[in-house]
């Protein structure tokens, strides 16, 4: 039952594999980016679930109360940055895809490979 108790990690691994598989196996550049996004999101989930303290509340100072259990805010803050990075990567990737489409007329990996030769 220990394995099930860590279901959040199972979810993370599942997502990660889905993303990674899409990234590798798909030939469409946009789909690759989607895979990359899922992959990165899984990491975000990993961090966020890591920061959760069982029974803890959101880490906002509660006035007057003593001995309040807070969740760890740092992983969340870190993931804020990771999200920004993810957005930037996606935006840059998509803009590259748009320009590739304009330059080559396709966004399929195998067709691009033929074009490049």
């Amino acid at each position: 039952m220990i394995a099930l108790g860590l279901f959040n990690y199972w979810a993370v691994i599942l997502l990660m594999m889905v993303g990674f598989y899409t990234l590798i196996a798909r030939g469409n550049l946009v789909k690759k980016l989607i895979g990359l996004n899922i992959f990165q999101t899984s990491v975000i989930m990993l961090y966020v679930s890591m920061g959760k303290v069982a029974g803890g509340t959101a880490p906002i100072l509660v006035e007057g109360a003593e001995h309040v259990v807070y969740s760890n805010p740092i992983p969340h803050v870190l993931m804020l940055t990771a999200i920004v990075v993810g957005v930037a990567t996606t935006a840059l990737g998509l803009s590259l895809v748009v320009r590739i489409n304009e330059a080559f007329g396709t966004v399929e990996d195998d067709e691009l490979r033929d074009e490049s030769l």
């Binding site: 990234l23 990359l36 992959f39 590259l96 590739i100």
Partner: protein, 491 residues
């Protein structure tokens, strides 16, 4: 002022990068970018001198004490790597003024310089920060701007190259974040020094080897260690010349720095190499990289791609040095960081000169260039000799230490492979030399020597690569001390 130097080296370029984008006009943007890189260059020299004199410098951002706040921590390794990045940046920016004008459309000039400085900032940031998550952030700053810079190449294949790099680079970075996250979950800290202290206590937990593995894969992807190098040849080949020269001499070097930082400082050499047996992985890969990538380089007819494969082989040398995990080996690795930056920078810059005049760096277009562009090709020969490792060039110095490290361990076959790699370098360098000097040019080509704006930075690096080959005591001394810091055997 001087106590702020560790942060100023990063934030001044960070302030100037958006300014370059704001001013709009490429000339003004260039001035801003040049100011940023020369500023960083000056500061990096000052930092190296201070670290040599006083030891490790620590700077707490926002005044928050070290394990909690973000700390910029500069030891000799950081300072040395920052100096390499800043030096190459300062030279490359001069070069870019002429080269970029020819290769990047004018309306994108300002954005180019902005991205250039951002990339520069990111690389400097990685080397000075003492916080692992901060490393990730700077890594992404530099990588994202590098993707954009590569995509600005003239050839449309620059776009696919940038895309490929983006995918692989992001995967690498994400692996690094996973590794960092797992370490954080075990120790609750992100500060490098603090991590190094706390990790041994939990080293028996299975999470740490997993984190270690993720980091290894992520970093080796970023540094293009064989067989994770697939993004590199295209990216180097199709990027604008100034970008190739800059990125080839800095980006992978900073990734090697990450390797050193994580495996020696964070995990400690004992854990990395004795418990995890990292050398069993790195050394064969490095050797295979040296041999196969040099062989592949021989068969290229695009000279930039040839040099790119040679870069993968040279990364093999650096990693090989590190994989010995001895003072001599790490010294060799660190020395080669610096030396390879100089010579590869010079070589790619020489190719930029050819690009500027000929419009292509394919071998068949370089016939007779030895006569038509004597200075450019002389620079290429100079850099090439260094790549081969002829005495009085920096390449010789690296090889000297590397072979010494191998023999010290009694691994003479490894030493022989290193030598064999140099011989392969002879072949691919000479292939270019023969075409340039022994084949007659088309008489109707009107090709002249490259302008001074390109030649001066190129030759600055060539001369540096000879100077530090003739008097290597300074660099060797710094590298040795840096290696001692990393291995924790120094004073």
């Amino acid at each position: 002022m001087s106590q702020h130097l560790p942060v100023l080296i990063v934030v001044v370029p960070l302030l100037l990068a958006p300014l370059a984008a704001l001013v709009g006009n490429w000339k003004a943007a260039w001035i801003v970018a040049a100011a940023a890189s020369w500023w960083a260059f000056g500061v990096s020299i000052a930092l190296v001198r201070r670290v040599l004199a006083e030891g490790t410098i620590s700077y707490e951002i926002g005044g928050w004490a070290a394990p909690y706040g973000i700390e910029y921590r500069i030891d000799l390794v950081s300072a040395f790597v920052a100096m390499i990045v800043a030096t190459i940046g300062a030279v490359a920016i001069i070069y870019a003024r002429t080269s970029v004008r020819a290769e990047v459309s004018e309306d994108r000039g300002a954005l180019f310089y902005s991205a250039f400085i951002l990339c520069f900032t990111g690389l400097l940031g990685i080397s000075v920060t003492g916080d692992v998550f901060n490393i990730f952030v700077f890594l992404e700053v530099s990588s994202l701007s590098a993707y954009a810079l590569i995509a600005m190449g003239q050839d449309r294949r620059a776009l696919t190259a940038a895309y490929q790099y983006l995918i692989m680079g992001s995967v690498g970075a994400t692996f690094i974040v996973i590794g960092i996250g797992l370490m954080y979950s075990m120790t609750g800290t992100l500060n490098i020094a603090d991590l190094a202290e706390r990790l041994p206590a939990v080293a028996d937990n299975r999470t740490i080897p997993v984190a270690f593995t993720f980091l290894t894969v992520g970093i080796t992807l970023k540094l293009a260690l064989f067989p994770l190098h697939l993004w590199l040849p295209n990216a180097y080949t199709y990027a604008p010349s100034a970008v190739t020269a800059f990125i080839a001499s800095t980006a992978t070097k900073v990734a090697v720095y990450l390797l050193l930082r994580f495996f020696f400082t964070v995990f400690g050499a004992e854990f990395s190499f004795e418990q995890m047996q990292l050398d069993k992985v790195l050394m064969p890969l490095a050797l295979v990289a040296i041999v196969t990538m040099s062989l592949v380089a021989i068969y290229q007819d695009n000279v930039k791609r040839l040099l790119a494969y040679s870069s993968v082989a040279q990364i093999g040398y650096m990693v090989l040095g590190i994989s010995f995990a001895s003072v001599l080996g790490v010294t060799a690795g660190i020395l080669h960081l610096f030396n390879h930056a100089l010579m590869k920078g010079a070589l790619f810059m020489a190719m930029g000169c050819v690009m500027y005049r000929v419009g292509s760096v394919r071998l068949e277009r370089m016939k007779g260039l030895g006569k038509k562009m004597p200075w450019t090709m002389a620079a290429f020969v100079g850099g090439g000799l260094s790549l081969i490792g002829v005495p009085f060039t920096v390449g010789f110095v690296s090889k000297w230490y590397l072979v010494q490290a191998a023999l010290e361990r009694g691994m003479w076959p490894v030493a022989a492979v290193v030598m064999f790699g140099s011989l392969l370098a002879v072949i691919y360098v000479w292939k270019v030399v023969e075409v340039a000097y022994f084949q007659e040019a088309d008489p109707d080509d009107d090709i002249r020597e490259a302008p001074l704006g390109l030649l001066i930075p190129t030759w600055a690096l060539v001369i540096a690569s000879f100077y530090f080959g003739i008097d290597a005591t300074t660099t060797a001394d710094i590298a040795t001390r840096a290696a001692e810091v990393l291995l924790g055997v120094g004073p």
